[in-house]
Amino acid sequence: MFCEKAVELVRELHRMTDGQLPAFNEDGIRQVLEEMKALYEQNQSDVNEAKTEGKSELIPTIKFRHCCLLRNQRCIAGYLYDRLLRIRALRWEYGSVLPTTIRFHMCAEELEWFNQYKKSLATYMRSLGGDEGLDITQDIKPPKSLYIEVRCLKDHGEFEIDDGTVILLKKNSQHFLPRWKCEQLIRQGVLEHVIS
């Protein structure tokens, strides 16, 4: 049956329910586009045949292939759109710089889209809250205090805090830091928020 490849793409993405981004399936997309091209060409020639030779019995077949074309189109649109939703979520969860492992899972157009999204969001955040702008990806939960206790889960190197002091984030070391400075590192899994 036609359109099996296209549904396979959708299934592959649907299996990852928690929003992870699997590698862009370039080969799968190519195969679907090839099938669409073949369907389109067969239909073109049958439409001509039906017209010139008055073969109206071909019409159900033409309609059949046309359904398949539209179905393939829907699957690909759904696949690409859902990936964009996942990529957008990455900006909120990881911040504006993505780890290379994830970048490898994106195609060139998706990387470009991510950069554009990042820019729009930055422009918007700069326009908020006076001259300084406002980082709306921070304080997703209401903060209880300005400073929090954190533990390093891995070596992260030197880290500069507000007053210019530089501290060394070494695995298993514990620190008392401004919350807004560590929120992103916690989300990235570098630090762990310690609650007594």
């Binding site: 359904c67 539209l70 179905r71 189109q73 829907r74 939960k141 209401p142």
Partner: protein
Amino acid sequence: MDPSEVEFLAEKEMVKIIPNFSLDKIYLIGGDLGPFNPGLTVEVPVWLALNLKQRQKCRIVPPEWMDADKLEEIREQERREDTFTPIPSLHYMELTKLLLNHAADNIPRADEIRTLVKDIWDTRIAKLRLSADSFINQQEAHARLDNLTLMEINTTRTFLLDSLNCMYKLRSNLQPGSGSGKAHDY
């Protein structure tokens, strides 16, 4: 909504404290607070009360309803009646947790209060489930949520809304003619 956001809203509730320091009136966007005089009762929002308490600058006076005898009465009434009884504070759950965690030494019979409030909560949540079921069973179109608190609504909100959406979906199937629309999803 995350429960931490519900708790954040509860922190705006006013509570009485007895400070052990002096400070003139302070002017904040949310309103003026103080003045503070040692030994004199003053009303402040819960967030400030907890902050002062943590720094040992005050004693917190528990709200009137946070009293084991009164809560026991409420618990009995809640168990007796089928409907949700009016609760003395719309943030009873959050305030109990906040005040008992940070100022248990200022609240008499703190452990009893903790258990009582938990009992009241459990009774009410069981009622909420029961009424959700009969709501679906009788295919009602709207519900009155009298006397429910934000935290209670919040724990079942998405579930209830999703259930109602399902109901809507399945009920719209019954409408004759709704299927005559073009079926062109490929």
